[in-house]
């Protein structure tokens, strides 16, 4: 599976895909996208890398284990529900902070963003956990 063209292309495409996935995640609240789509794109990016360079290299590039990523995602998503409890509201009520950021205009940051990040990480973690481990089965 080691074609030079694939390897070379992957070297450029993979970071772009990961960047794109982050964009999807962040833009997802207002434009098409979101944690599910973003996470899948990121997972696809690493899968591509694994095809081009092998699973070992892909794991090194990912830096953390996919299972850990999935766990962290779940934790982040569940944790995003806790702040609302401190305000005496039901679990997982969205809390928002609005503010003006120079150069960006008005921007709102809230717990649903953290939740979406959790979804993003969980999707990456689960997908890669299956794909990479299965690919190692030779």
């Amino acid at each position: 599976m080691s074609s030079l063209i694939l390897r070379t292309a992957t070297r450029y495409i993979q970071p772009i895909l990961v960047l794109f996935s982050v964009f999807l995640l962040l833009a997802g609240h207002n434009e098409p996208g979101g944690g599910f789509a973003g996470g899948l794109v990121a997972a696809a990016a690493y899968t591509l890398y694994a095809i081009a360079y092998g699973v070992e290299e892909a794991r090194r590039l990912l830096y953390v284990s996919p299972q850990g990523l999935a766990g962290a995602g779940l934790l982040a998503a569940a944790g995003s529900g806790i702040p609302s409890l401190l305000y005496g509201k039901p679990f997982m009520t969205g809390l928002w902070h609005e503010g003006d950021v120079p150069g960006f205009g008005e921007i709102a940051v809230g717990t649903p963003l953290l939740f979406d990040v959790g979804v993003y990480l969980a999707v990456i973690g689960v997908t890669l956990s299956i794909v990479l481990n299965l690919a190692e089965e030779e």
Partner: protein, 783 residues
């Protein structure tokens, strides 16, 4: 009273831990509660007044169901409560001696207390549903008590039988209660009693009566439901003494008496209850007489006594109900004493067969005295309470319903004769006459054990000499409560030379004669008895149980056969049948709708949409038909991307994006796995393929039509508009789909990513944990 009932449950919870601390003294400690309760109930009883309404306490439990914890302290409930707690006290102490070194004695106390508390709940509750709850609790706790020696198969079987028989009866009873509650408009017994006339005239009266009687009869071991009672002798003796003298089996009698003011006294009541009771009485007494094992003998005599009480309540005259109450009290006293004495004999000698017992009075003087008093009471000898009870029993039988008096009196006298013989077997034979060799050398049981028979025997004597003590008080109130009107009960030791006294004399003579001919008689009829046993109710029970197992096995074989496609076929045929039939009833509208949408489609469908559809259909067909895996995967990919295009065309960019990435990853996964698999083989033959194709096509047609109908109808207003309106203002998001996922319905999404993670962990575990391979490797290594 609530505390009185619940305290038993509370103590049951801590009894095992308590036993660990106190060891041998637990019996006395635990006994303090029933003793205290008994004193409490007796005090309440002494405060009873015919002119004052009984004390009631009510605590709403599930008001929406009409279920409340309401307790009534009238004569009937207090009589039972006093017996339950009083004998409970003796049994608790007794079990300390009987189960002396049993490793699970702590657990035993827990069961015993739980049972006692449940029984108190049954007799004190005045709400039908609460009675049912406690009733079932007695079934469960008696299951635990009967099956206490769970290492033995007999115990387990007997416990299960008791649970099944009384449990089934309980369910029937619940159905009867529900009917009664609906007809009567309340679940409170005293409110129902006020509307008794209306209830008795209702067309549902007979069904509800029969259902409730099923509950009472199973619990009180009436023929042919009596089978569980003799089997339950596998229980430890203290449990038998408790369950069969004053508690479990009396619950049915209690229910009959409790509901007598509501349901009783009608021709239907008499026609059912009286004969069943009479048959049970004679049958039980006869079978009791030919038993040789002490406990079995007592068990059948209990069946008979229960029959007598049922018969009396079935007769329903004032005199009969009074007699039932008196007989009940007498029976509780002597039967508990005899059971406890039988337990002592078993415990001290290791022998249960009366034929091999004799002369124990020297070794066990106190037990012998107690048992003798109880036995004389059972036989109905003057100066003992049993005599007093039997006198008014005969009196009631003589004044029975028209045309029945002679038959009932004969039945009563005959079974009483057998009682005399049975009493002689239990209380005379083992203690007097020549001593025999027994497996253990007998010596008097510890005080904890003889206390019960001694006290109860003394009670039989004391109440026998002075029947007025209890007759004028508690028993009188009890009979009044059962009849629903104030009556006077006069118990006297000496009635003068009446026909009843003559009957008593005849009974005694006949009983002695029966005792004398007993061994020869049973030997002569042994084959007949065996034949009767072979077709008796125990066989019916076994047959029903086995039948159930056979049906269960059969249906498992048919429905749970392990073939996925069979399960699938069952589900799908049901689906097609149900939805198909609904669709067929609207076939005209649907046909019109299809034609309409055909026209619309013709006018509006864009050519690229049609092209997409054609490609999708071809790809689907290819996925089904392909001979190689790679072709199948490719076709699957085309289907996936095609679906994504549908999402693109109809305003779902999020879906399209997700679908495309997923499809890519799916194809990669498929390739990774299929790489290792063998080529497709065709396993099924042509016929089964055609059959599956037919089923699949019909499901497809139904689902297609359903889609069409679903797009055209809207049964409920959609909630989507809310999300559309609130998405930006509340959640600062313009992508409504994403806002729903991460904000409005975030908890659902949380669940979904949890499922996702579980699937991931599962796959990881499957791949990495090779438990099977490792164990096989070990085997190979060791061999």
């Amino acid at each position: 009273m609530l505390i009185a009932v619940l305290s038993g449950f509370a103590l049951a919870l801590i009894a095992p831990s308590l036993h660990r601390l106190t060891h041998k003294r637990t019996g006395f400690l635990v006994g303090l509660l029933p003793l205290g309760l008994c004193v409490y109930f007796v005090r309440l009883a002494s405060g009873l007044d015919a002119d004052v309404a009984p004390v009631r306490e009510t605590l709403a439990w599930v008001p929406s169901l009409g279920l409340s914890l309401s307790f009534t302290a009238d004569g009937l409930s207090l009589l039972f409560a006093a017996l339950i707690s009083g004998i409970g006290f003796l049994v608790a102490i007794y079990s300390g001696g009987y189960l002396d070194n049993h490793p699970q004695l702590g657990r035993w106390y827990a069961y015993l207390l739980m049972f006692m508390a449940s029984m108190l709940g049954v007799v004190l509750s005045s709400n039908l549903l609460a009675i049912f709850v406690f009733w079932e609790l007695t079934s469960i706790s008696s299951y635990l008590l009967i099956g206490f020696f769970h290492e033995e198969e007999d115990s387990r079987k007997a416990a299960l039988q008791a649970l099944l028989v009384t449990g089934l009866g309980g369910v029937a009873m619940l159905a009867g209660f529900v009917l009664l509650g609906r007809v009567g408009g309340s679940f409170e017994v005293h409110e129902l009693a006020a509307g008794a006339g209306l209830i008795r005239g209702d067309p549902l009266y007979l069904p509800m009566l029969l259902l409730i009687l099923a509950g009472a009869f199973t619990k009180s071991a009436q023929f042919p439901f009596h089978v569980w009672l003799p089997s339950a002798m596998a229980a430890p003796t203290p449990a038998s003494a408790y369950l069969h003298s004053s508690t479990m089996v009396k619950a049915g009698i209690f229910l009959l008496a409790r509901l007598f003011p509501v349901l009783g006294g009608t021709p239907a009541w008499t026609a059912v209850v009286m004969p069943v009771g009479a048959i049970t009485m004679v049958f039980g007494a006869y079978v009791a007489m030919r038993q040789n094992i002490l406990k079995k003998l007592l068990a059948y005599s209990t069946v008979s006594a229960l029959g007598a009480m049922t018969m009396l309540l079935g007769m329903g005259t004032d005199g009969a109900v009074k007699a039932a109450v008196a007989f009940l009290f007498a029976h509780a006293l002597y039967k508990a004493a005899l059971f406890l004495a039988a337990g002592i004999i078993d415990h001290e000698t290791g022998e249960r067969d009366v034929r091999r017992l004799g002369g124990l009075a020297r070794a066990l003087p106190i037990t012998a005295a107690g048992a003798a008093a109880a036995g004389l009471s059972m036989a109905g000898i003057p100066l003992l309470f049993g005599f007093v009870a039997k006198e008014i029993f005969y009196e009631a039988a003589l004044h029975g319903p028209d045309g029945w008096a002679a038959a009932l009196t004969t039945a009563a006298v005959v079974s009483s004769m057998f009682f005399v013989a049975a009493a002689a077997c239990v209380a005379y034979r083992p203690f007097f006459g020549a001593a025999t060799e027994t497996p253990k050398r007998p010596h008097e049981a510890p005080a904890s054990m003889w206390l019960g028979p001694a006290l109860l025997g003394a009670g039989s004597l004391a109440f026998g000499v002075f029947p007025g003590w209890i007759g004028e008080g508690l028993l009188n109130h009890s009979a009044s409560a059962a009849l629903g009107k104030s009556v006077d009960l006069h118990l006297r030791l000496w009635h003068g030379f009446t026909p009843v006294l003559g009957l008593s004399a005849v009974t005694l003579l006949g009983g002695v004669a029966a005792y004398a001919v007993r061994p020869r008689f049973t030997a002569a009829l042994a084959t007949v008895h065996r034949g009767c046993d072979a077709i008796g109710p125990q066989r019916w029970y076994d047959g029903a149980l086995n039948g159930m197992l056979v049906v269960a096995k059969l249906q498992t074989k048919v429905l749970q056969n392990g073939y996925l496609r069979h399960y699938l076929a069952v589900i799908l045929i049901t689906l097609v049948g149900l939805s198909g039939s609904v669709l067929l009833t609207h076939v005209k509208e649907i046909r019109k709708h299809v034609i309409d949408s055909l026209v619309i489609a013709w006018e509006t469908v864009e050519f690229y949409e049609l092209g997409l559809a054609v490609i999708l259909i071809i790809a689907i067909a290819a996925a089904v038909h392909s001979r190689t895996r790679l072709a199948a995967i490719a076709a699957l990919g085309v289907v996936g991307y095609g679906v994504a295009l549908v999402f693109v065309l109809f305003g779902a960019p999020d879906l399209a994006m997700t679908q495309i990435v997923i499809e890519t990853l799916t194809v990669i996964l498929f390739v990774l796995v299929f790489y290792h698999l063998p080529p497709f083989a065709i396993y099924a033959n042509r016929i089964s393929r055609a059959r599956d194709l037919l089923l699949a096509t019909s499901v497809g047609v139904v689902m297609g039509v359903l889609t069409l109908v679903a797009t055209a109808t809207q049964a409920y207003p959609t909630i989507s508009s809310y999300y559309g309106e609130m998405s930006y203002d509340l959640a600062h998001g313009r992508n409504v789909v994403n806002v729903i996922l991460v904000d409005f319905r975030a908890l659902d999404t949380m669940g979904e990513i949890t499922v996702l993670t579980v699937a991931g962990v599962g796959a990881f575990a499957l791949l990495k944990l090779r438990l099977g391979a490792r164990s096989r490797g070990d085997e190979e290594g060791s061999s």
